[in-house]
C-alpha cells in the first residue's frame, strides 16, 4: 500500500498517539496507537493509521479504535488493530476485525510434567511431537470425519475427540474452556467450508502456526498464589514428593507455623461442612 496517512496525529505520551475523531466526520471515537518514536516512523510509511481511523467509524464502537505496537496495513482493520463494539449501541461484529483466520488462536494445555522431567529429554520430545503431529503445507490429518461427525466435533470440541478414543478425559479438564467454544453453532458453517476443513482435523496447520513446550514459572490472577511447584491437579503425587524430600533432607517443606494454620483450616472446613456450610471460626 503506497498511500500514506495524511491526517492529524497527536502525541499523548511517550508511547501513545491519538488520531482525533475530528480527523473524519464519520469517526465515532478517537484512534489510539501504542508505539514509540522509532515504531511510529515505520508505521507512518503505510496506510495502517488510516485503517485505525476507519475502524473508529464502526457502529457501536466503544472507547477507542486501538492499535497495538508495530501495526501494519491489513484487511480493513490494520494488523494489530483492536476494537470493541456494544450491541446495545448498534455494535457490529466485523469480519475484518476478527480476521480470515477466525478462531486461529492459541490454546494452552497443562501437563503434569515438571521442568526437571522435560528438560533432559526436550529434543527427544520435540522430535516425537514433530513426527507425530501432521504439520506444514500440504499435510492432512490422519483421521477424517464425515460431515455429521465434523459438526459434532465443532460443537463439542475436545470432548468429542476423547469420546472417540483419541484423548484422555483428564486432558480435557486441564484444557482451556474444555477445548470448545460455548454456543458454537456448526449449522451456520457452509458445506464448502466443512468440505475444506474435514481433512485438517488433528493437524497443526502451516504458516505461522506453532506448538511450543513451555514451563509455567508464575501464575497471576485472583486465585493464583502458587509461584511454580505444586500442581493441584495431582496434589497427592506432589505431596508424596514433598514427604520423600523431607525424609531425605530432614527439612520440612513448610514452616511449623504454616502447618498449624493448614491443620486449623482443614478442621474448620470439616466443621463447616458438617454444619451445612455455615461460617466457622479458625482457631489458630
Amino acid at each position: 500500500m503506497d498511500k500514506k496517512f495524511e491526517g492529524t496525529l497527536e502525541r499523548i505520551d511517550q508511547y501513545r498517539w491519538r488520531i482525533p475523531r475530528s480527523h473524519h466526520r464519520d469517526m465515532r471515537v478517537d484512534g489510539v496507537i501504542y508505539a514509540d518514536d522509532r515504531l511510529m516512523d515505520t508505521i507512518r510509511t503505510d496506510y495502517s493509521l488510516q485503517q485505525v481511523a476507519n475502524v473508529a467509524c464502526l457502529p457501536g464502537i466503544v472507547h477507542h479504535s486501538l492499535a497495538m505496537p508495530d501495526i501494519h496495513f491489513g484487511y480493513g482493520f490494520c494488523i494489530g488493530g483492536v476494537a470493541a463494539t456494544d450491541p446495545a449501541q448498534g455494535g457490529v461484529i466485523s469480519p475484518g476485525g476478527v480476521g480470515y483466520d477466525i478462531n486461529c488462536g492459541v490454546r494452552l494445555i497443562r501437563t503434569n510434567l515438571t521442568e526437571d522431567d522435560v528438560k533432559p529429554r526436550l529434543k527427544v520430545l520435540i522430535d516425537k511431537l514433530f513426527a507425530t503431529i501432521p504439520c506444514g503445507v500440504g499435510q492432512r490429518g490422519k483421521i477424517s470425519f464425515d460431515r455429521k461427525e465434523l459438526k459434532k466435533l465443532m460443537r463439542e470440541g475436545s470432548r468429542f475427540v476423547v469420546d472417540r478414543g483419541f484423548g484422555f478425559a483428564a486432558d480435557v479438564e486441564v484444557t482451556e474452556a474444555g477445548g470448545c467454544i460455548e454456543g458454537a453453532d456448526p449449522d451456520l458453517v457452509s458445506d464448502r467450508a466443512l468440505e475444506r476443513g474435514k481433512d485438517q482435523c488433528g493437524t497443526l496447520g502451516s504458516g505461522n502456526h506453532f506448538l511450543e513446550v513451555q514451563v509455567v514459572q508464575a501464575v497471576f490472577g485472583e486465585k493464583a498464589v502458587v509461584n511454580q511447584g505444586v500442581s493441584t491437579r495431582y496434589i497427592y503425587r506432589e505431596l508424596l514428593k514433598q514427604i520423600v524430600r523431607m525424609f531425605q533432607t530432614g527439612q520440612p517443606p513448610i514452616a511449623p507455623e504454616e502447618s498449624v494454620e493448614i491443620v486449623a483450616f482443614i478442621e474448620a472446613a470439616l466443621e463447616s461442612g458438617d454444619g451445612g456450610g455455615r461460617p466457622v471460626q479458625l482457631n489458630i
Binding site: 496495513f73 500440504g138 504458516g207
Partner: protein, 142 residues
C-alpha cells in the same frame, strides 16, 4: 508463466502474497491468474490422465467473477487434489463466465507445496485496462 501477452508475478506483501497478473485479454488474464494461484501453492505435478469439465459463474462484476473463478480452482485443489488448466472460454464478460477446462489429478508425492493458501481475497482487487493490457493484483491469504 511470463510472456509478452500474459503472465504473473508473486510480489511481497506484509503478511500474505500479492499475485500480480496481466494479459492482453480478459481470457488470458484469467488464465494467468489461475497459473499464479497454482504457483503460489507450489510446484504441482499432475498425472497425465485428464477429463474435461465445464465451468459456469455469474457475479456482480468482473472482479467478483475473477475471485469466484480462482476460489473454485482453490477449492477443487484443496478438496479434490485436482488442477484445472487449458481453459477454453466460450463466454467471458463483466458478469458471466462460461468455460471448459482439462482437469488433472495432482501427484502429491511428486509435488512440492510451498504455501497453504487460505483464501483468495477481495482485498483491493481491481482489474485495470490499459489499451490492450489487463492487469490485476490480488491478495492471497496464506
Amino acid at each position: 508463466m511470463d510472456t509478452d501477452n500474459a503472465g504473473y508475478e508473486l510480489r511481497d506483501h506484509t503478511a500474505d502474497i500479492a499475485l500480480f497478473a496481466w494479459g492482453d485479454s480478459l481470457e488470458s488474464l484469467f488464465c494467468a491468474a489461475a497459473a499464479g494461484l497454482y504457483a503460489t501453492v507450489g510446484e504441482l505435478t499432475c498425472h497425465s490422465d485428464t477429463y474435461h469439465e465445464t465451468l459456469r459463474f455469474q457475479a456482480t462484476d468482473v472482479e467478483s467473477l475473477l475471485h469466484d473463478f480462482l476460489a473454485e480452482l482453490h477449492f477443487r485443489l484443496e478438496t479434490q487434489d485436482v488442477c484445472l488448466a487449458d481453459f477454453n472460454f466460450t463466454r467471458l464478460d463483466d458478469t458471466i463466465l462460461h468455460a471448459t477446462a482439462d482437469v488433472a489429478r495432482i501427484d502429491r508425492d511428486a509435488s512440492i507445496f510451498d504455501h497453504e493458501v487460505k483464501a483468495v481475497t477481495y482485498h483491493e482487487v481491481n482489474i485495470v485496462r490499459h489499451d490492450n493490457r489487463y492487469e490485476v493484483t490480488l491478495s492471497l491469504d496464506i
